[in-house]
């Protein structure tokens, strides 16, 4: 097995990034004008990268499958963005953010990358404020912070429950400025379907104009993939309907290694499923766990009473409730990391305590927060003997100010009023920590091909902490990639314009044409969604929150069977040369059907429990931590990077050993 070179700079961790920036090659401004860069995806990572690269002088072509860059799914991120600003004077620092992120990721991330992430985090906030991003502020006019799961400081900046939207619109505005100047050429409603590799280097892409169906060749000196994660391999997830792994999977099949596909984050607070027609799951921000208490009834009779509607949740007294997170994890309580909270919910529901008809829901209750805030507010207002109703009204107002849009969203979807009755929540697939393997420069194993944001594997290890995805996407796009890409491009200044008539472009285009043509002409009997749902069910049942060897082996076989059947029996209506959403879906699901199998294979290979990856074979057997996940640092302290060999079952494993020089390896404890 080969050893992957992470290209981590030498020296003490706190100087690595500065030294690296001082020593890498630069491209002079005159030459930047002659260099093309393709950016696929316009979310936080892609949008910020495209804007920053164009500002530096590169010629950028950006691609989005949506009708505008502003629609990328980063827009849906709710809670916030972390930064080591220490505005709250609670002892935060770059080191603490670094430490929390590595620990939160269960020691499966690359130290050097995470440290850099923590280091540039503060600049992100400065940059966004300069762009006019309206973060929440305190009455003194300074920025407000909130706290998130898995940490003991308040370092999360936010804009109500729409932080992702505001940050994305900031990046979008920076892009707009460059589009207006002609420095970014924007290709909306275009989907990348293939990477073009010439002489071992990424030289362009084949994209489909989704309006006309025309295949287009685009050349560039470097290609950046910022196409997000692959959570939709589960069919049901909090991802957007269009979120897909195609760009990432295409570069994987052209030589980019895919790292840790089994690291998936199941988010604990989503609105539970209501029926078979369900097309997606909706997240309720983790920030709600600041004020909401999670519980199920202690007694089975009460569970049944609630399910049948005979008992209202608020009728149960505190002693009749099991605040299981507070019970199991007194130190962190309701603010344990996401993986821990999700598994705990599953454990209670598996034991039969689920509170809705499907048995897959727990309560997230704001009654005590409403009371607490109401009393505080009454005191501030000088009301010395407020009635219960007054306290409740005041408290509701405070909660509304903090989470109004989330409560409204919940009510619109479920028709329940969360101010009056506890929310029902259940874990759902939310984020994929795994992704394309990249080195310190964010370059994949294909020279000239980069991966940024959720599409790469680098910073979150086996579990991502809340409010870290936005931080990583913007760090990659604003502050990392624009520097590191120059190191590679400095060797490209003599290349000149790359012709799209090269045989490699012709061949890649033909490959795409044949693939789509095949899909159209199968003319089978079942819709694309049928196969996607089947795949999702296998993934959720066998490769979900809790995994074991037998289930994973079975998953591999089942997925292979679904894939075979898909290629024989899928029905794609319409033609290639028109706006054809079914064809788009078919091409994406075809890729998910391969990725899913690699996912299961990776999960099987990693016989340890770490972060979001929980293997039933690897748990603590005794002591205080009995039943908790058990990491195996002796055998699995590495990144599993998979090389495509023509069949996901035969993917070749490459290991990048992880070194921890600045953090002591410990079993995580949130007790």
């Amino acid at each position: 097995m080969s050893v992957l070179d992470s290209k981590t700079p030498s020296g003490p961790i706190k100087d690595q990034w500065t030294n690296h920036k001082n020593n890498i090659n630069l491209v002079n401004p005159a030459n930047k004008r002659l260099i093309d860069i393709i950016v696929v995806g316009t979310g936080l990572a892609g949008g910020s990268a495209a804007a920053s690269l164009a500002e530096m002088g590169y010629k950028v072509k950006a691609f989005a499958f949506q009708d505008s860059p502003r629609r990328a799914h980063s827009i849906a991120a709710q809670g916030g963005i972390n930064a080591a600003k220490n505005y709250q004077n609670d002892g935060d620092s770059v080191y603490r953010l670094f430490y929390d992120t590595v620990k939160g990721g269960d020691y499966r991330a690359r130290e050097s990358n995470v440290y850099r992430l923590a280091e540039v985090s503060a600049s992100i906030i400065d940059q966004c404020v300069a762009q006019g991003v309206p973060f929440a502020r305190e009455y003194g006019g300074l920025l407000d912070n909130r706290s998130f799961g898995g940490v003991l400081v308040s370092r999360t900046f936010y804009a109500k429950g729409q932080t992702g939207q505001q940050l994305l619109l900031g990046a979008y505005s920076a892009m707009n400025r460059q589009i207006g100047k002609g420095k970014i050429k924007m290709y909306n409603r275009h989907e990348m379907l293939e990477l073009v590799v010439v002489d071992g280097k990424a030289r362009g892409i084949i994209a489909r104009d989704m309006v006309t169906g025309k295949l287009e060749r685009h050349s560039a000196h470097a290609v950046v993939i910022a196409s997000g994660g692959y959570g939709n391999v589960f069919f049901l997830s909090t991802n957007a309907m269009g979120s897909n792994a195609t760009a990432a999977w295409r570069i994987h099949k052209k030589g980019a290694y895919f790292a840790n596909p089994c690291y998936t984050q199941i988010h604990p607070t989503c609105i539970p499923r209501s029926g078979d027609y369900q097309s997606k799951l909706t997240l309720m921000s983790e920030s709600l766990r600041n004020d909401g208490r999670i519980w199920v009834p202690k007694n089975m009779e009460d569970v049944e009473g609630i399910r049948s509607g005979k008992i209202k949740p608020k009728d149960l007294s505190v002693d009749q409730r099991d605040y299981y997170l507070e019970r199991r994890y007194p130190a962190f309580g309701n603010l344990v990391p996401r993986d821990v909270a999700s598994r705990a919910a599953k454990e209670r529901c598996d034991a039969g305590y689920g509170v809705n008809k499907t048995g897959e829901a727990v309560f997230l209750d704001f009654a005590s927060a409403i009371e607490r805030y109401g009393k505080e507010k009454a005191y501030v207002l000088g009301m010395h003997n407020p009635t219960d109703a007054e306290v409740k009204d005041l408290g509701k107002k405070v909660i509304e100010d903090k989470y109004g849009n989330l409560f409204q969203m919940y009510q619109k979807i479920t028709d329940d009023n969360p101010y009056e009755t506890p929310m029902m929540i259940y874990p759902a697939v939310h984020y994929t920590m795994g992704g394309i393997w990249v080195d310190y420069n964010l370059m994949t194993t294909i020279p000239g091909c980069y991966a940024a944001g959720e599409a790469n594997f680098s910073d979150h290890g086996a579990n991502r902490l809340g409010a870290s995805a936005l931080m990583q996407g913007l760090a990659d796009g604003y502050f990392v990639l624009p520097y590191t890409i120059g190191d590679y491009l400095s060797h490209e200044i003599r290349t000149g314009e790359i012709s799209t008539d090269l045989p490699e472009f012709v061949a890649a285009e033909k490959e795409v044409y044949d693939r789509l043509n095949t899909l159209i002409n199968i003319k089978g009997t079942k819709s694309v969604d049928h196969f996607h749902k089947e795949l999702g069910k296998v993934m959720w049942d066998n490769v979900g929150m809790s995994r074991n060897a037998a289930g994973l082996k079975e998953a591999g076989e089942k997925i292979r069977k679904i894939r075979d059947e898909f290629w024989k029996d899928v029905l794609v209506p319409g033609t290639m040369n028109e706006f054809n959403p079914e064809l788009e879906k078919a091409a994406r699901v075809a890729d998910f059907l391969e990725l899913g199998e690699l996912f299961a294979k990776d999960a099987l290979e990693r016989n340890e429990s770490c972060g979001g990856h929980f293997r039933e074979e690897s748990v603590e057997l005794d002591g205080e931590q009995k039943g908790e996940a058990k990491r195996d640092d002796v055998n699995y302290r590495y990144v599993a990077a998979w090389e495509w060999t023509g069949d996901p079952a035969q993917a070749k494993l490459h290991k990048e050993e992880l070194e921890f020089k600045d953090i002591e390896l410990k079993q995580r404890s949130y007790k």
């Binding site: 949506q66 762009q131 729409q162 400025r177 319409g574």
Partner: protein, 252 residues
Amino acid sequence: MSENMKLTLKVWRQKDAKSQGKLETYQLDKISEHMSFLEMLDVLNEQLINTGEEPVAFDHDCREGICGMCSLYINGEAHGPDRGVTTCQLHMRMFKDGDTIYIEPFRSKAFPVIKDLVVDRGSFDRIQHAGGFVSVNTSGNTIDANTIPIPKEDADNAFDAATCIGCGACVATCKNSSAMLFVSAKVAQFSLLPQGKIEAKDRVLNMVHQMDLEGFGNCTNTGACEVECPKGISLENIAIMNKEYFKASTKA
């Protein structure tokens, strides 16, 4: 509670931008009131695919009311009869068993139909290109974010304006197809923040100029946009933009 609604759908079908379109009628049954409107359309499409017909094309992505991709003029209203929601958040409990539902694309000269219910909202992007930004380059050396305090009220108002999702319901609803609510949301957001004030004059002139070039109509203050806006963007923003525009035009 109904799990078994029967519905008649009148759906706009149009092959492509150049073709003529027309309303087609479809029957659906077994629609649950817990479904979202788009899940109901998923059921229709599954039914169409299985009977060898072409599914209805419609824009959608996040399905949680934030990306602004979904549109649809449902029973004579943008995003349908509910308030404060996008089409993807509209639930079938707003309808009754036996209802006939008209489903049409967002219409405006500046939003040409691409196919069926999908329209081209590129005009919105082009307005943003004209000035919807603060001219600041990426740099690790901008001033510290807390250097300029911003009154909470201004920050909150700027945020409220900035929550526009660019869906185009305002244009689709407005009897004049005016885009002023959309444009004013951006103009107002920046006019309330110190970072945006520096370029306020050019921004409003250029964005309004581009808005006019795109062929949107004039605002006559009917207020329909504000009512139909899924994010509750206030008409106050249009007043702010009018004022900003007047200032910009009269200032040397």
